[in-house]
Amino acid sequence: MEDWRHAGFGLYIHWPFCQSKCPYCDFNSHVAARIDQSRWLQAFQHEIDRIGALTEGRILNTVFFGGGTPSLMEAATVQGILDRIRATWTLANDVEITLEANPGSVEAGRFDAYAKAGVNRVSLGIQSLDPDDLRRLGRMHTVDEAARAIAIAQSTFDRVSIDLIFARQNQTLSAWRDELNCALDFGTSHLSLYQLTIEDGTVFGKMHAKNLLKGLPEEDLAADMFELTQEITRAAGLPAYEVSNHARPGDESRHNLIYWRMGDYAGIGPGAHGRLTLDSARFATEAERQPTPWLDQTLTHPGSAERVERLTPEERAAEYLMFALRLKEGASLSRFQALRGSPLSAAGLAEMIDLGFLHQDGDRIRTTETGVMMLNGILRALLADRLSAG
């Protein structure tokens, strides 16, 4: 069996536009005055045709519209893309088609049309249930709008997920507890709960560098919030299945599981990444980040806006470990060894087990409750012998 078949095949579509740029966000998003959606549809269709030819005969497990703000796409654009996808691949019976949406009233008005086009899951960027924090995070929606959007989504789609950001400026442990409980009351079956991360190149990053971002929680408080998050979601029946993702068992994001279990995925759109196994070799693809050059190049020479790199066994194994250890189910030592051609460093593994960060159960290694919070350090320790070579 080819390695990717452990996890399946998905398609990621990147819509690179937002109404405004949020100060914390370092995703490839752009604000544009005019967008010719028919040209974009055409470009996406070209890419679907090209990748379809490379992956002929595969069953497609998932489609994910990410961004940017995909809920700014006209329903016809989504429809056009999904029609072409259905004409290209055989869809799995339980195909998951997710679209990321802002919980504003305008977007909620399109939910019905998206569902008719085939979208069966939405992921709503709620981020906060505090009006002041929503403004501070640069979000355009209100708490009421968010609540309405969640309700509409729940009556429209099979599955709904909401995103929240914690460890915000001046946030206390008890405020986060209240907010998380409120969020659980909406009754969605999936929650993505992210610690606020200050990224270089963002507005927050620049403010942070100038020491203007006051009240960010210290490491210990952030750790307490993370632990509390695990406790509350577990009690509510939506335990963590990944570092920041929580779901009712069975309602995990199948698309994201393809990443974490290291399946194959094609990425379409500006800045999109893909991993495709072709003739037993695994390739990493990365598309041009700027929307206009990507669009022009793709329309004239499909595939020309993409860089392709063949991954070494070392890189494949490292990626596998980086992703798989994020999951509660952990990583398989034999799969790692098969990918790399040599086993994981026994000394590094023993040290991490000794520190109580990893737990080994036969072929599987998993992070412990303290270990999941230390994953970067664990990966450095496990891959220390090879990182510099990569």
């Binding site: 990621y12 750790a223 570092v243 920041s244 980086m322 919070m373 230390m374 450095r380 990182l387 510099s388």
Partner: protein, 599 residues
């Protein structure tokens, strides 16, 4: 040759900021020695560091032609001396090269400790002293009080003190007249064998080593074969000049004159300040008295932050050594810091100046280890060893007792801060020798261990007195005390660069402060880390750095794999700036910051 009665040689004695350099600039400017357009503030302090810190490190000189009110033309030689205790010997030689001093005192402040030390040097050299009250234009100026202060503290008649403002130029003509009429001309015999004092020397990129001399007797001419009496070296004079302040060639220099020469001398190290220069063929019979070779008293390790810069550091030190013979250096290897140099300096300021120059002029990032003094180890077998580096401390069973250098410190301070000063000196194992008052200013003399003074004493002094205290010291003697080596252990591993010699009674406090500081400076690791201070095998202070709790990327999806891998690699590369001790990584800053201790 100029007749002796038309020469006046003088120096200026002043505390930092009391306006020495500004006055020198005014004298140069008002006599037209330097054209207006070539003036830059503080002409004589030629190093950037000197100008920035407002201090003089190398002696500088300028020859001023002045037509006095009596219509006669005079040659005035000003030697601008180093103003800091680290360079006390250099100051004493400069003082011997001139006959008089201007004592410049800030009319709003009064006499400071450093001024006092230099005035004593001037009096010791037999100078005539003319008091000058500067900054008379300031609203806070109180000339009568300061005159009284000069009389009280120094015992000098200040009734004829000249009120000036070096800033505005007020009173400058009076100063020039006073130099001519109140300072004595030099003495000397032009027909006697050549006898000249080596006042200073420096390296010039074009000319090689330039030697500044004061002629006592005889005449020196270009082309002469001369001999350095201490080193015995013989040279031919290639170039003879006076400084105005640029070099101006001159055919000969006679008694009382001050000038410079070059003689194909390769290194400043080949010249000794205070040496006597005479003719090879017809030498004088006695060298000048008072020659002392320079002896470093403060030592520290200097290591490149980037180990690859070691060769660059070696080059830089060798180049600096061309111009500064007063520091010593030898290679040192530290488990913590890799390859570097153990360097000896005349004092703390000298250390800072050399380090700053290495960093700035040679663009190096350096780690400085704790400054240390030379301890004398009296071994049980009777041998006496110098200990320059605490890391080299032998097993105590072989050591009979340890001696450390003591200093006599003079501190002048407004009496409001006296209590703080006494406490500080007491805390540093000081013994009070004397306490006197002049007006509302106290003068305290303390016997202190030099080791306690090199350890951020200046910083503490400045902070407890809000900068109002002035401080000076001279080394007095070596004395036995209960001294021990304190080691620092991080995660049970000794860190040699952090070990230090301390007094047994102070070891707990010092150890506690050090481990607390390190606890803040060392980043958390994946495991908890004990940080200990120990004497021999006995732990005297301990802190535990708790383990890191959270280090995980919140978002990691399909597109993030590449980025995540780069991030992990970057974090790994970042560790190169850390020093590894067993499993613990200690950042460079920790070494530097750990040595800056309060209390």
């Amino acid at each position: 040759m100029i007749s002796l009665d038309r020469i006046r040689n003088f120096s200026i004695v002043a505390h930092i900021d009391h306006g020495k350099s500004t006055l020198a600039d005014r004298l140069i400017q008002s006599t037209g020695t330097v054209a207006e357009r070539d003036m830059q503030a503080q002409l004589l302090d030629s190093m950037d560091i000197e100008r920035e810190r407002g201090i003089t490190i190398k002696a500088n000189t300028v020859r001023i032609d002045y037509v006095a009110r009596d219509g006669q033309a005079y040659v005035l030689n000003l030697i601008d001396t180093p103003g800091h205790v680290d360079f006390a010997y250099e100051v004493s030689r400069s003082m011997r090269a001139v006959e008089g001093s201007l004592l410049v005192v800030d009319a709003s402040q009064g006499v400071e400790a450093q001024t006092l030390a230099n005035v004593y040097q001037a009096l010791d050299a037999g100078h005539e002293i003319v008091p000058v009250l500067n900054k008379i234009d300031l609203p806070a100026a109180d000339p009568e009080r300061v005159k009284q202060n000069i009389e009280d503290v120094i015992g000098l008649d200040a009734s004829d003190a000249i009120p000036i403002s070096a800033k505005t130029g007020l009173g400058i003509p009076d100063v020039l007249e006073a130099i001519v009429h109140r300072l004595p001309p030099p003495k000397g015999d032009p027909n006697a064998p050549l006898k000249a004092m080596l006042v200073d020397s420096w390296y010039d990129a074009y000319l090689g080593v330039v030697v500044m001399i004061r002629i006592i007797d005889g005449v020196v001419r270009k082309g002469d074969r001369i001999k350095m009496m201490q080193t015995g070296a013989v040279y031919g004079i290639d170039k003879l000049a006076v400084l105005k302040p640029q070099m101006q060639d001159i055919p000969e220099l006679g008694p009382g004159e001050i000038g410079v020469f070059t003689a194909s001398i390769k290194q400043v190290r080949d010249t000794r300040v205070g040496d006597t220069i005479t003719h090879e063929k017809k030498p004088c019979d006695q060298p000048l008295p008072g020659f002392k070779p320079s002896v470093p008293v403060v030592f520290c390790g200097l290591f490149p932050v980037d180990a690859n810069d070691f060769e660059a550091l070696r080059d830089a030190i060798e180049k600096l050594a061309l111009n500064d013979a007063s520091f010593t250096y030898e290679m040192e290897t530290s488990a913590a810091l890799g390859f570097g140099f153990r360097m000896g300096f005349l004092g703390l300021l000298h250390l800072e100046v050399v380090r700053d120059r290495l960093e700035r002029e040679y663009d190096l990032d350096l780690i400085t280890t704790a400054p240390s003094v030379v301890f004398k180890l009296h071994m049980k077998d009777g041998e006496v060893r110098d200990l320059h580096n605490p890391a080299d401390m032998p097993d105590l069973t072989y050591v009979d007792h340890i001696e450390e250098p003591r200093i006599k410190a003079t501190i002048m301070v407004p009496d409001d801060y006296l209590g703080d000063i006494l406490k500080l000196c007491q805390d540093r194992r000081g013994i009070q020798l004397n306490l006197t008052y002049a007006g509302n200013r106290a003068m305290v003399e303390y016997d202190l261990p030099l080791a306690e003074v090199v350890f951020d004493f200046y910083d503490r002094l400045k902070s407890v007195t809000k900068g109002y205290a002035s401080f000076d010291y001279q080394i007095s003697e070596y004395r036995e005390d209960n001294l021990v080596k304190m080691s620092i252990l991080v995660n049970e591993e000794p860190v040699d660069a952090l070990s230090m010699m301390v007094h047994r009674d102070r070891a707990e406090a010092r150890g506690r402060a050090m481990v607390e500081k390190l606890k803040d400076l060392i980043p958390r690791h994946m495991f908890k880390i004990p940080i200990q201070a120990a004497i021999g095998g006995r732990v005297i202070a301990r802190e535990t750095l708790s383990a890191m709790r959270k280090d995980v990327t919140a978002k990691c999806y399909g597109g993030d794999a590449t980025r995540k891998k780069k991030l992990l690699e970057k974090q790994k590369a970042g560790k190169k700036k850390m020093r590894q001790f067993g499993k613990v990584e200690i950042p460079q800053e920790a070494f530097i910051a750990a040595l800056k201790m309060d209390g």
